[in-house]
Amino acid sequence: MITRKSIALLALTAALAVFFFWNRNTAPSELEQQPPIVTLPKPPPPKPEVPMGKLIGEKLLHQYASDDTTLRDDLQAISRLSLSYITLVKNHANHPVGCNADLADAFHGKNPHQQRFLPDRHKVFNDEGEMIDRWQTPLFIHPVSAGRWEIRSAGPDRKLWTGDDLQLLPNGTFVEGFTKN
């Protein structure tokens, strides 16, 4: 026989079950919302400085005007750099090149892509920013067409248009001596 006491006990048990069930789905308390306290790890010790990658011009001209190369090598290196320039800077014709200083500017990054091919200070440049040969004389850059230049060194006598001049044509052949453009 069910007594009154049994009914009360049963009702209490049911109420407790409902209470615990209800509380299980409610939001966590404010205390529980606090972010956990995290102890940050100590910063790693600074890495040793990574050397900057060389610009393409530095790589192509790394032996420029050295004792291990010839004037022909020097002119070919400038030519290869020019070829890299017109290959990488597709709209290079928007930066017209009429002389040495124009091409030097382009290698310095004054080109439509603002892409630098040589650092400001490099042995191929003189203080005026022009490209010079191994005797410190500015190279003569003659624009034949867009992206095609004749490159002439004045030679050891440091005077253009004399017998010791050497000129590299866009087709890769050399012309020696006084031959005019």
Partner: protein
């Protein structure tokens, strides 16, 4: 009957058709003209007109051809700016101490530069001044061009030469130096390079697109069938003649150019070789093959077209050569006698201009009411030496052009021939030691009786280094007059209608309002 060509047969026949060699390429290209000059019912030609382009290839240093003479402070001492900019390459001023050219500092090799010749309003008259009151001088080698500019004391109104100053390739007008420096304006592609700028002068499309036609070619596309209406019954002669090989200048969409030499037409065979030399025998054989009427030899359309084109080209070359060799008389004047008496030099340009006179003189025989000629005169890329080289070139130019103009006038052809100069670009103002380098804007001149002579049109640039017209690198002047304006005026005279001008000169409306009462520059009467 349908023909099913096998791949093998097609290749075989195509190979046969390719029997021509590259040595005859120019002759074969003359058959671009094989295109039909439709006998139109257009307005016909009210007269005959010839436009002659004299291309000074290499980039003429035109600032030593036409230079400022003014020393008055009112005009900012324009000569002084010139002299300072050019230093040892400046022509001396007749009223000032001479400029000394010292090619090798440290030696006594000092040479006084020659004086320029002042340009006057007439021979022995007052100094010419432009609308701004500025006076000018001309290179001392140009005594006869000076006369063509000024007229003579006997005929002071007979001025047949004018200059166009500060002209160059442009996509859009450049208002001033700051507009250029802003970098926001479209510029001609590959400024300062020979081939690009040469092409842009000849196409008048400086945007750097791949343009396969020149402005004279496009003009021929429009004018040849409309105005050269005398060509009927299968007679065909092109409108454009080049004395210097194939050029983009005279190549149109449908019209090409007839390439000749100073001795006349390029031909497969003919009077210019010995009868039995190898080339003549080869040419005769080719001709016989090409003109063989038995089409059995030519078994497909490709070969038949090739045969017909080759035969047409040979026939046209022979027709031209016959007239060229014996031009006869024009307006009652014997052409050969007039050429002999004109005073041409026996040099390259003299020979080219003799051929030009002959080609113009026979235009009626060739049934041409409109005709263009292209002459190229090279040697102006004077990096290494300017003064002596340019003096020699200008001396030949001066003597030969004077003879040419007088010859045309003696033949009664002066009133309908205009000759104009072009060049890759002008050169830097600053001396590089003995020469000058590539730049942009410069001066040109136009010659002929229809020209309103004795004028300098355009806006002559300030020649001050780093001045308002110099964009750097030692005096690169930017243009205030576009080549489109120059060509538009010539084409307007030549017969291209205003409504057609945009087809010939796609950029013209950036510079000139089509249909305007006045011509763009005003150098033609």
């Amino acid at each position: 009957m349908s023909r099913n060509l096998s791949r093998r047969r097609f290749l075989g026949e195509a190979s046969c058709a390719a029997l021509g060699s590259t040595s005859i390429l120019s002759t074969i290209l003359n058959l671009q003209m094989a295109n039909n000059a439709v006998a139109g019912t257009g307005d016909g030609a009210s007269g005959r007109k010839t436009l002659v382009c004299l291309f000074l290839s290499g980039g003429c240093d035109s600032y030593n051809v036409l230079l400022p003479a003014d020393t008055s402070p009112a005009n900012d001492g324009a000569y002084d700016d010139y002299a300072a900019a050019r230093s040892n390459l400046a022509l001396s001023h007749p009223d000032k101490a001479p400029v000394i050219f010292n090619p090798d500092a440290g030696t006594n090799d000092q040479i006084a530069n020659p004086n320029f010749l002042p340009l006057n309003t007439a021979e022995g008259g007052a100094a010419y001044t432009d609308s701004s009151g500025r006076s000018y001088g001309i290179h001392p080698s140009c005594t006869r061009l000076k006369e063509l500019f000024e007229g003579t004391s006997a005929e002071p109104n007979k001025k047949r030469l004018s200059f166009i100053s500060n002209i160059g390739t442009l996509v859009e007008p450049i208002a001033d130096k700051s507009a250029y420096e802003s970098g926001n304006l479209p510029l001609p592609k590959a400024l300062f390079s020979h081939s690009d700028q040469t092409e842009q002068w000849q196409t008048s499309v400086p945007q750097g697109q791949t343009i396969l036609s020149g402005w004279a070619g496009r003009a021929a596309d429009i004018l040849h069938s409309r105005l050269n209406t005398e060509q009927t019954n299968g007679f065909y002669m092109p409108m454009n003649f080049s004395i210097n090989g194939n050029t983009v200048f005279q190549t149109g969409a449908t019209e090409g150019q007839f390439v000749l030499t100073s001795n006349g037409a390029l031909s497969f065979s003919g009077p210019h070789g010995t009868a039995n030399d190898a080339q003549s025998i080869k040419n005769r054989t080719l001709k016989e093959m090409a003109t063989d009427p038995m089409n059995e030899h030519y078994r497909n359309l490709f070969q038949q077209a090739f045969r017909k084109s080759t035969a047409d080209s040979i026939e046209r070359g022979e027709q031209f050569q016959t007239s060229f060799d014996a031009p006869g008389s024009v307006n009652g004047q014997d052409v050969d006698a007039a050429i002999d008496a004109a005073g041409f030099l026996d040099d390259y340009l003299g020979n080219q201009l003799r051929a030009a006179v002959r080609t113009i003189a026979i235009r009626e025989t060739l049934k041409l009411c409109r005709q263009t000629l292209f002459i190229e005169y090279g040697g102006w890329d004077n990096h290494s030496e300017l003064l002596n080289t340019q003096a020699a070139l200008l001396s030949s130019l001066d003597t030969n052009l004077y003879a040419y103009q007088n010859c045309l006038e003696a033949l009664g052809l002066g009133d309908d021939v205009i000759t104009f100069t072009s060049s890759d670009f002008a050169r830097t103002l600053r001396s590089n030691g003995q020469g000058t380098d590539h730049a942009w804007s410069g001066n040109q001149f136009v010659l002929g009786s229809p020209v309103d002579g004795g004028k300098i049109v355009g806006n002559y640039a300030s020649l001050a280094i780093d001045g308002p017209d110099d964009i750097g690198r030692g005096g690169r002047i930017f243009p205030k007059v576009s080549v489109d304006e120059y060509f538009c005026e010539l084409l307007d005279w030549f017969g291209v209608a205003q409504g057609e001008m945009g087809t010939v000169l796609p950029n013209i409306e950036n510079f000139h309002t089509l249909g305007a009462v006045n011509r763009p520059l005003g150098f033609i009467s």
